[in-house]
């Protein structure tokens, strides 16, 4: 008997681990750091550091205590006796799940315009389909309401929702186009040519595209500016994914390498030789710890992206076409007409998959887990299918972050908030916590980097010796009390004091000039009468 733990736990009001036994440092809330307890001499600082630590502990404890409010547990399929979870078919599952969940497992027969690329909105409400032959549909699959459906009449290579359901981007035959919810074409991004893959960076409002030409381009969708363009120098890019943890873009190339990119650097941050054939698909887990790559050499490899070490390798009977990792760490692999789902495939090498599915007669093109729901959608040659995968989605959502039930007002506010909190492209780095840290570089090196940043000059090197030779342009003594007085005084008012001040300034000027002349050895016009008698002399 198959046991779906409890029917109501499937669906997004279902699931969330409560690690009750963990101490605070082992919990997911802790931010590990070198905890060197070096005795601090300064009493004030010591107290300060101690207090900060205490606050940190309290914060973790508080965060952990809120788990009490998460009523939902994650539930996976459980097999009993000789049963195997991968033997359960969708039909069987449908019998045991509640009606609402059962409704979400559906199939769309779209035979004419496939194979389909798919994309879920970040909150899992909307689904965007793009058929290779030009069919686009955006709809709320729970409600069954259609936002838009259109035919672009040319090849579609990828589809992507932007920050909310109001806009989506489609990589068409030549350019990338942005449409709004009603299907109106808003922008044509002519700089993005022959794009095959797109990713959207929600916190940076960047649309990253890469295509057959091998150019990675970042476009700011809030301002419309093109942020940067990099040549990968590795030919056509075959796959692309976004690391949700640090917003690094992972690209898969035909030579089997995976390269990591950030807008701040024009060369790849890291290159990993992962496969012996083209990298067909990449996916990174939510925590940014593991990367799964699938190559045309029929290998599926799991990488530790922080250490850049291969963890496990699996093989597929035929080259995989697509990969995706769910919020709760399920890995979906599509190969041929099969979709295989793996549980706990990262830490330990699994012997058998968690679930399998076969869509006879149509090759699977694109698999995606639906956020906040126990669903796996995949686009294939003959349309779209939504599978029920118990335990796939994160059951407890943070409504302040991504709200699956957001209202119109909330959506608008979230958009404004998102724009106000928009991160700069330069903030993307392998370690996203670098901001505010101390620069490890030497001061002069750092200074040079800063100058380069501000001036935008990339090639010019500042030579220290040259800098030393430069005479300092000092302009001293320009200001004085008298001058300031004159400056502050309104121009059109002439009073006694002003006259006096002006005269004094004049006198000073004369004296200065005389001094200068004397220093240069020039003849100085001396007052013949001397200071006492001068007043009786000829007035100027």
């Amino acid at each position: 008997m198959s046991a779906v733990e409890t029917p109501e736990r499937i669906g997004h009001t279902g699931a969330g681990t409560t690690n009750a036994g963990l101490d605070i440092y082992g919990s997911i809330y802790s931010r590990t750091m070198t905890n060197k307890n070096v005795r601090i001499k300064d009493r004030k600082l010591r107290a300060n550091v101690k207090r900060t630590d205490q606050r940190y502990k309290d914060a973790i404890r508080a965060a952990k205590s809120t788990e009490l409010l998460l009523q939902e547990d994650a539930g996976f399929l459980e097999a009993e006796g000789m049963e195997k979870t991968y033997k359960f078919t969708q039909d069987e599952l449908l019998k045991h799940v509640d009606v609402t969940t059962a409704h979400k497992g559906f199939e769309l027969k779209l035979e004419h315009f496939g194979p389909y690329e798919i994309d879920y909105m970040r909150n899992g409400r909307k689904l965007l389909l793009g058929g290779r032959k030009g069919h686009v549909a955006a709809f709320d699959f729970r409600e069954g309401t259609l936002d838009t459906e259109l035919h672009v009449n040319e090849t579609i290579r990828d589809v992507k929702y932007l920050h909310n359901d109001q806009y989506f981007a489609i990589a068409q035959k030549k350019y990338v186009y942005i449409y709004d919810k009603s299907g109106t074409e808003i922008h044509c991004l002519k700089k993005h040519i022959e794009v095959t893959n797109m990713e959207f960076l929600p916190y940076h409002f960047l649309l990253a595209t890469v295509g057959n030409a091998g150019w990675l381009k970042y476009q700011d969708v809030s301002t419309g500016e093109s942020v940067c363009e990099f040549r990968t120098k590795m030919g056509p890019t075959t796959s692309m994914t976004l690391n949700p943890y640090n917003a690094i873009i992972h690209l898969g190339h035909t030579n089997g390498t995976v390269s990591l990119w950030a807008p701040s650097t024009s060369t790849a941050l890291v290159r990993i030789l992962s496969h012996k054939g083209p990298v067909r698909a990449i996916s990174v887990d939510r925590g940014g710890r593991y990367m799964a790559t699938a190559g045309a050499d029929c290998q599926l490899k799991i990488w530790d992206v922080r250490m850049y070490k291969e963890v496990h390798a699996y093989y597929t009977p035929t080259p995989p076409t697509s990969l995706d990792i769910s919020d709760r760490g399920l890995l979906a692999v599509s190969w041929g007409p099969h979709v295989t789902i793996w549980k706990d495939a990262f830490r330990t090498k699994q012997k058998s998959p968690y679930m399998t599915h076969l869509s006879p007669g149509s090759t699977v093109n694109d698999v995606r887990f639906c956020p906040f729901d126990d669903l796996l959608g995949f686009g294939h040659d003959e349309g779209f299918t939504s599978l029920i995968v118990p335990g796939a989605g994160e059951p407890n959502f943070d409504a302040l972050e991504i709200n699956p039930y957001e209202t119109l007002q909330q959506r608008r506010e979230a958009e404004v908030h998102g724009l106000l909190n928009k991160l700069k492209p330069e903030m993307i780095a392998l370690d996203p916590n670098f901001i505010g840290n101390v620069d490890p570089r030497a001061p002069d090196e750092r200074k040079q980097a800063l100058v380069l940043e501000t001036t935008g000059e990339t090639d010019k090197k500042i030579n220290d010796a040259d800098a030393k030779l430069q005479p300092k342009a000092k302009m001293r003594g320009k200001n004085s009390a008298l001058r300031r007085y004159l400056r502050k005084k309104s121009k059109n008012v002439i009073d006694e004091r002003k006259l006096r001040v002006e005269a004094a300034l004049e006198r000073e000027k004369g004296m200065r000039q005389n001094n200068l002349k004397r220093r240069k050895g020039l003849p100085v016009e001396e007052r013949k009468l001397g200071p006492a008698l001068a007043r009786f002399g000829k007035s100027k």
Binding site: V38, A59, Y86, N255, K276, E453
Partner: protein, 818 residues
């Protein structure tokens, strides 16, 4: 003192000269003094005048004058010391010098101290006086507490000159207060005509003022006096300020300061209560007594009365307000005010808690309790919607009623989930069944369910107990009831809720087992057969005649789901092998299956017929099983027909995507992989990658640039020296050994990355921190509400100083004073 003399002895003549000049000037001033001037000014003031004048003329002069004055006073002290020891009659060298020039004595009118030193005759005359003063000084010194004496060290600390006086008190005593300088004294030393003239004038002055006042005792130099005063004042002030130290320290170290710092309500309430007490006895005799006893002034009494009047007025107003409020009938008003009151109570409770030790825990527990309450209330009838439904009689429509019911059910589920045990349903509401036989016989439908049975069992037990107890009471033995309670399986934690303590649970199980055993005793030799039979019988339906207890035990897991399988899962123990057996037509046992299972399988074969009968009866459960079999059969047909009983067929391993050493690899698969291998045979990506890595390492490593100027030193011909070495500049890069990817295979890490992030980093460790780690640790906790709980965010963003709006912040009053 000796050292001072030595140091000044270097230039005694100069000093003396200056002193003389100064003195002369003084006399001149004295001459100019108006008659109206008192003797005070005559004696004391000229110092300043001299200073002012000399300021205009010569600074050096002034300095020396000052010094001479100081020295003079020092000498005076010296002399007083000398007077202690009569045998040491020698005058110090300096005074000796001044003696030699007789004319200086003219001036001593203003410098009584100098004067006193320089007159040896006076010394003898007034030896008695000196002795007296000395005695007095000694007395004083002995009387005064040690701390009042300002030592030299202290003086040094205060910035006062230390060289002229060991103690201030001494100087006070040394000051010749008793010695009144008369004109005769001066006259005795004057010789010049100038002096006589001025003396004559002084005479006149003296005569004129003689009738009016006595001669005021002379004082120290004003500056010294002021200094001494300052020092004393400083001591007092220091002590006074020191009292604040704790307060200031506390405030400075405080994380947050909330103004007003001293809570006024405590004081205010004290005031009120005090006033009220008095108010009760107002106009009574007690008050009068009190007043008599303490002798209040009239004003105080008036003030008191006013205050009392005010208090009474306030009370009256409060009363009136209460009356008015009492009359308000608005429910909303009541509701709002109730909430406010509760909040106030809560705050009060919190404050109370804060004073106690268990503040945090208590509040935390309260919070948790509250959270739990709210969770449990979530799906109750209490929501607005539910209430609306009830109010508007919407529950008559079926849809709404269903929803309502569903909600309630969900609420129950949740509560149960929170409690963590589905089986804990108290059987209190069940009808009581007294007779064992009756219960067992009539059990059917819902009564056949496990929990119902358990409840019955419990009830029965309790009844039995109570009966026993009654009997015992009849016998007069009722002291042992408590013991009975603890022994029983059911442990009552609080009324209304029933829980099983782990120990109790065990004992309960044991009890049940024993009951079971007693039922099964005769079955013991052949348990397996018996089990199988029981399954068969159970599936056959309620018509069976086998012991009901056993049956209920076996029947329970089906209704219970996975939860119940935790402790003692009969499904796992008994039925599982059974199910295997059922599927035997299509499945065989795996290698791992235990001997137990095998023997059981044998037994199963013998029971085949019985089972067939069971399936023929065919209740719902059996149907499900058959379904599974069918599915499995279908699988087998699809997968590999000749695989026979092997469950894990080739298709499965295919699906598995896991390398299994190629043992199971089928030719087709092998071909596929071979094909792939062949497809990528041309491009040696590994080699290419390694080459690239090498290139990168070289690129980013040390570089040598030839900066030799072209053509430089390339002359040729006879006698030309060999050109110098090439000029090679070395540009430091990254050492290949220190690269991040040095030990990583198949990875190239760009060492030059992240140039643009300089503006988001700190150039140096900011001030209070000493190391980078300390600073970065302080950044570890993000403050925003996205990462922390609301309370944490509030605590982290709480300002250092909080001033309650609309409150006058009084200056700190000294807490130690009250």
């Amino acid at each position: 003192m000796v050292t001072v003399n030595k140091s000044d002895a270097k230039r005694p003549d100069v000093v003396a000269k200056k002193k003389l000049e100064n003195a002369l000037r003084q006399v001149e001033v004295a001459e100019n003094v108006d008659n109206s001037d008192s003797e005070d000014s005559f004696l004391g003031v000229p110092d300043d005048d001299v200073d002012e004048r000399s300021d205009g003329e010569d600074d050096v002069d002034l300095d020396i004058v000052d010094e001479s004055r100081v020295l003079a006073s020092g000498d005076g002290e010296d002399d007083s010391d000398d007077k202690d020891e009569p045998d040491d009659d020698e005058t110090p060298s300096f005074s000796g010098v001044s003696d030699t020039e007789g004319s200086t004595h003219l001036t001593t009118a203003t410098f009584s101290d100098i004067e006193s030193d320089s007159v040896p005759s006076d010394l003898e005359e007034e030896e008695d006086d000196a002795m007296k003063s000395l005695q007095k000084a000694i007395e004083k010194a002995s009387q005064k507490p040690a701390e009042d004496v300002i030592t030299i060290r202290k003086r040094r600390k205060l910035g006062l000159p230390t060289h002229f006086a060991p103690t201030v008190d001494d100087s006070e005593d040394v000051m010749p207060a008793k010695k009144k300088v008369t004109l005769d004294d001066i006259r005795a030393h004057t010789s010049s005509s100038f002096g006589t003239r001025s003396l004559a004038r002084l005479d006149e002055l003296e005569k004129r003022s003689k009738g009016k006042s006595e001669v005021v005792k002379s004082r120290l130099g004003r500056r010294l006096e002021v200094r001494v005063d300052r020092a004393a004042a400083y001591e007092i002030a220091k002590e006074e300020v020191g009292k604040w130290e704790d307060t200031v320290k506390r405030n400075r170290e405080a994380e947050h300061l909330e103004f007003p710092l001293q809570r006024s309500d405590g004081a205010a309430t004290a005031d009120i209560t005090g006033a009220l007490d008095l108010g009760d006895e107002l106009d009574g005799e007690k008050l009068v007594h009190g007043l008599e006893g303490r002798e209040f002034s009239l004003a105080e009494v008036a003030a008191r009365r006013n205050e009392l009047r005010r208090m009474r007025e306030l009370m009256f107003r409060e009363e009136m307000k209460a009356k008015r409020v009492k009359r308000i009938k608005s429910k909303t008003y009541r509701k709002i005010h109730k909430r406010e009151r509760e909040r106030a109570q809560e705050i009060a409770a919190q404050l109370e808690g804060e004073s106690g030790d268990e503040n945090n825990e208590g509040s935390y527990e309260r919070l948790v309790k509250r959270a739990r309450e709210r969770m449990e209330l979530r799906h109750k009838n209490t929501s607005d919607w539910a209430r609306d439904v009830k109010r508007m009689n919407l529950h008559k429509s079926k849809g709404t009623r269903d929803e309502l019911e569903q909600m309630l059910r969900r609420g129950e589920d949740l509560v149960r989930k929170i409690e963590g045990d589905d089986n804990e349903i108290s059987g209190d509401d069940l009808p009581s069944i007294n007779d064992d036989e009756e219960a067992t016989d009539e059990a059917s439908g819902i009564m056949a369910m496990k929990f119902m049975r358990e409840a019955e069992e419990r009830l029965r037990k309790r009844n039995k107990e109570s009966i026993d107890e009654l009997r015992r009471m009849e016998d007069g033995l009722d002291g042992e009831t408590e013991q009975e309670d603890t022994d029983s399986a059911v442990k009552i934690i609080n009324e209304g809720r029933r829980r099983y303590a782990p120990g109790a649970q065990k004992s309960k199980e044991a009890a049940e087992e024993s009951v079971e055993q007693s039922n099964q005793e005769d079955d013991a030799p052949v348990p397996l057969e018996r089990k199988m039979a029981s399954i068969a019988v159970k599936d056959a339906g309620p018509a069976s005649t086998i012991s009901k207890k056993l049956m209920s035990k076996k029947g329970e897991p089906r209704n219970d789901g996975p939860k119940s399988s935790k402790t003692s899962n009969p499904w796992m123990l008994d039925v599982e092998p059974g199910s295997v057996a059922k599927g035997a037509s299509v499945l065989s046992l795996s290698k791992e299956s235990t001997r137990f299972a095998k023997t059981e399988a044998k037994l199963k074969r013998s029971l085949k017929k019985a089972k067939k009968a069971v399936q023929a009866v065919g209740d719902g459960e059996a149907e499900v099983r058959i379904d599974i079999n069918q599915i499995l059969q279908v699988r087998d047909v699809h997968g590999d027909p000749d695989a026979g009983p092997n469950f894990v067929n080739v298709e499965d391993s295919h699906v598995m995507m896991v390398h299994k050493g190629g043992r199971r690899a089928k030719p087709a698969e092998f071909q596929q992989r071979e094909l792939v291998k062949r497809a990528f045979a041309g491009d040696d990506v590994v080699r290419e990658f390694n080459e690239e890595k090498q290139r990168t390492v070289e690129d980013e490593g040390d570089k040598e640039v030839d900066v030799t100027l072209p053509g430089w030193g390339s002359w040729t011909g006879k006698g030309v020296r060999k050109p110098q070495k090439k000029f090679i500049q070395k540009i430091e890069g990254i050492n290949p050994k220190n690269r991040q990817d040095a030990k990583l295979k198949n990875v190239i890490i760009n060492e030059k990355a992240v140039k643009k992030s300089a503006k988001y980093t700190a150039g140096a460790v900011p001030f209070p921190y000493e190391t980078r780690e300390q600073y970065e640790r302080s950044l570890r906790m993000p403050i925003g509400k996205q990462w922390s709980t609301q309370t944490t965010v509030q605590r982290l963003t709480k300002p250092k100083v909080i001033v309650k709006p609309g409150v006058v912040v009084e200056p700190l009053s000294a807490p130690f004073a009250t």
